[in-house]
Amino acid sequence: MAAPLDISPAQAEATPEAVIQGAGGRKIEGRSLGEIAWMRLRRDKVAIGSAIFIVFLVLVAIFGPFLVQSPFTYHPNLINPTLSGPNGAFGGISGAHWFGVEPTTGRDVLARVVVGARYSLIIAFLATALAVIIGVFFGLIAGYFGGWVDTLIARTMDVFLAFPLLVFAIALVGVVPNSAFGFSGNNLRVGLLIFIIGFFSWPYMGRIIRGQTLSLREREFVDAARSLGARGPYILFRELLPNLVGPILVYSTLLIPTNILFEAALSYLGVGIIPPTPSWGEMLSDAVQNGYYYIDPMFMFIPGLAIFLTVMAFNLFGDGLRDALDPKSR
């Protein structure tokens, strides 16, 4: 129960209790949602650290291959042929080979990790982009239109989620010829991997967007737009989409590490990048399948560490981004 109103006219002309003055006397300006999010993100040291690492990684992937030695050059003199392992401690680490050399061949591990970063990141980024585009489009449509459209799309997503993806990937890589769609060799393989990974991870994005759209479409601003005569496409892409940027950003960031791991898994199974082009998964697979990890643990440790750090950086950054954009979901 509210207290009985007893307000004198004098009190009605109240002055604000707080003085609109920032600390140090600076004037306070209105902040946009983005600015608030950026402020929150900046305070999250872990997220910022991860972001710096990601930027570093991207720079390595872009410029690194021009700085390191050839990842294809054999150095048989650095290898003990009887045991297949590199001469010297820690996988043959030396001034010329900072991360050591590969068992059997003597190829420089640093060069292979750096060039591998390029392939692993290209595949992960583009596959994520593909998944986001498909996922957002269908998620929006399913959530906004509802009814049989929603049923159709939602069930399709269920089918995709239930699909034995790895088996399909192995089969598809096996049947696609060596040159198709104007590509050949490794370019074709990279394209194929992007397609497979992207095409099968869109439902994760689609379901999230669909759920968000379902709640957004009942909001007043959508009703307002509709009463002003706005039609489907306008509402979808001008009203709803901007409000979904937060979740899209967050879940894209979280999808990237998943895709890096997936690329590694495919390379591990021998259907990833075509050798001798390096990729992290291929290096791990070499270490495990040939049993090199017994004689040269460094050779397994280095690509493993690269995958671990990358996946962790993207995950932590994604978490930080989510906390910044949408603190309620914490």
Binding site: Y74, P76, P81, T105, P177, G185, G270, I274, P276, G291
Partner: protein
């Protein structure tokens, strides 16, 4: 004729046979002596380690990292199984149990002597020993041997074994005993049994190597009555009827096989096997690294697969002298090589450029180096196979790093001085083959030959990809990685499927180079009708040289395996025909 063949082989293995005689002579007493003497690296290649005829009450344990294709002797194609089934079966002929080249001799086991050919080598007659018993005490007759051969025709029930009888016998349309309704008629007309101890094989064409065919475990006798009901057909492998020193006690699929002594086995009728332990246990699906650890810590006695130790155990064995003395490093008789397709790369000089440019050392390293990879190869026939003759057309031995100058010279003669582009097929699920393909690619790059790697899964490699000429032509697969081990250790077993023009088939092709050379084909025809062993053996190096002259095969390595022998096991030695230790004679201290 055949007698001369056997003597010829005996001469080849004379030194090894002498060693055997020396060891075998002292029998049990030397067994007790040897327990204190230490053995040396590679000693098992030329002599029997811990020779002993003393029975032990212990259990001989085999570990296997996967499972056998079948324990049915008529339905298996794995070398280790052909070796192992000798513990519970007898064949008409078998390989002599002795080390070195001596072990490549065929000796009668169930038969009284080698096959007697007649009618221009198309009829082969064997007489079997009259007093050999099955595990149930029944006497083995020629009809039982015939029934065993009939079983090999039932490919829908027993698909795994080789098909030599279907290829060679006249009655090649016989459907097998399970669909042959009139059981008592004994339907395979190409095998006749004039009496209980005589069996005759009627071939559609002369085949001088037939003795090797009956040495394959498929000639094991089986009673038709045993092959019915609980242990009939595909379930026969759960308890194959034994004629050997041991019999099945139990077989839990994918887990364990247990063998116990066969009371009806008689050492006087089976001189090539021994019955020295009470029990034999085979543990299946043991992790490959665990197998090695079990061997070295005496939890297991033999690694059944016989393909050598893993990387981890290799570095242990080679770096510790005490372990190294317990290891052997034999040439297994298996060749790693690359097919160079004569249709995709029709110009011989272009193919020769590949032969010269290949860096044999880095390819050898890819296969595992000089100890477990193999010796650098310059011929198609490996040194342990009858018919080997050393030659080095492309300087593989004198310039193992690749003869770049000669390769460039050949490219000029080919009309492509700056090189060319071709596909290079390999199996993605074989890590060493992946490495070898990359090493070959890297070395060809040096002379401008660009080899595009094309990986395939091994399950379909021969049926759909490298072994399908139409696919090979359409995808420009000029080079395909391959490996070959013979079904029997002579030139025919090695060369026929790789280079005889009539073996080119649309799918499952093993003559991937598509060698169809008149002179080679006629040499094979000559050999098939040549009963004189020396003359026949002289043909194999000729074919080998012709294949190499065509530059149709790039030999990479004569595979070597690093085998570890548990010091508690007796009568251990490397058996050439199977490329591993002889399992038929093992005992325990």
């Amino acid at each position: 004729m055949i007698r001369s063949k056997i003597t010829g082989l005996a001469a080849l293995g004379a030194t090894a046979a002498l060693t055997l005689a020396a060891c075998g002579g002292s029998g049990g007493s030397s067994g007790s002596n040897s327990s204190s003497t230490s053995t040396s690296y590679g000693q098992g290649l030329t002599s029997i380690i811990n020779p002993s005829n003393t029975p032990s009450s212990g259990t001989l344990t085999f570990d296997l990292s996967n499972t056998p294709d079948s324990t049915d002797y008529q339905n298996t194609y794995y070398a280790f199984m052909w070796n192992f089934v000798r513990l519970y079966s007898m064949q008409l002929l078998t390989y002599k149990s002795c080390p070195g080249a001596c072990g490549e001799q065929l000796v009668p086991q169930l038969a009284t002597g080698p096959g007697v050919p007649s009618n221009n080598d198309t009829v082969w007659t064997y007489h079997i020993k009259p007093n050999v018993k099955f595990e149930n005490g029944h006497t083995v007759t020629s009809a039982d041997v015939k029934y065993g051969v009939e079983r090999t025709f039932a490919k829908s029930v027993l698909p795994n074994g080789p098909s030599y009888y279907q290829v060679l016998l006249k009655d090649n349309k016989y459907p097998g005993p399970y669909t042959d309704r009139a059981k008592n008629v004994m339907g395979l007309t190409s095998v006749t049994t004039p009496n209980a101890t005589t069996i005759q094989f009627h071939l559609s064409q002369p085949f001088a190597d037939f003795d090797y065919v009956v040495a394959i475990p498929q000639s094991t006798p089986v009673e038709p009555a045993w092959d019915t009901g609980k242990y009939g057909g595909a379930n026969f492998q759960l308890h194959p009827e034994s004629t050997g020193p041991y019999e099945f006690q139990s077989y839990t699929l994918n887990k364990q096989i247990t063998l116990v002594k066969n009371p009806n086995w008689n050492a006087s009728t089976d001189t090539e096997a021994k019955q020295l332990v009470n029990k034999i246990v085979v543990n299946l699906n043991v992790n490959a690294n665990t197998v090695d650890n079990n061997l070295m810590s005496n939890y297991a006695d033999i690694d059944m697969a016989g393909t050598g130790v893993q990387t981890a155990a290799r570095s242990k064995i080679l770096t510790q002298p005490s372990l190294k003395g317990l290891a052997d490093d034999p040439i297994s008789g298996f060749l790693r090589f690359a097919y160079i397709n004569t249709k995709v790369i029709p110009n011989v000089h272009c193919r020769e450029a590949i032969e010269y440019a290949a860096n044999k050392t880095s390819i050898q390293d890819a296969w595992g180096g000089p100890v477990v990879g193999g010796d650098i190869a310059s011929t198609v026939i490996p040194p342990t196979v009858i018919g080997y003759q050393k030659f080095d057309l492309f300087n593989a031995l004198s310039q193992p790093g690749g003869d770049i100058a000669a390769a460039k010279q050949q490219l000029k003669l080919c009309g492509k001085p700056s090189g060319f582009t071709t596909g290079l097929a390999y199996r993605t699920d074989r890590p060493q083959e992946v490495a070898a393909a990359q090493a070959l690619q890297a070395s060809l790059q040096q002379v401008g030959i660009k080899a595009n790697l094309q990986g395939y899964l091994s399950g379909k490699y021969y049926t759909d990809f490298a072994g399908a000429p139409a696919y090979v032509h359409a995808h420009d697969l000029g080079i395909s990685q391959g490996g070959w081990g013979p079904d029997w250790p002579d030139g025919y077993g090695f060369l026929d499927e790789l280079s005889n023009g009539n073996t080119i088939v649309p799918a499952g092709n093993t003559n991937i180079s598509e060698i169809n050379d008149k002179s080679i084909n006629s040499l094979f025809a000559t050999a098939a009708g040549q009963n004189n062993t020396a003359a026949r053996t002289a043909i194999w190096p000729q074919i080998d040289k012709k294949i190499m002259g065509m530059a149709a095969i790039l030999p990479e390595v004569y595979q070597k395996v690093l085998l570890y022998r548990n010091p508690n096991v007796t009568n251990v030695y490397f058996d050439r025909p199977f490329g591993m230790y002889n399992y038929a004679v093992l005992g325990l201290k």
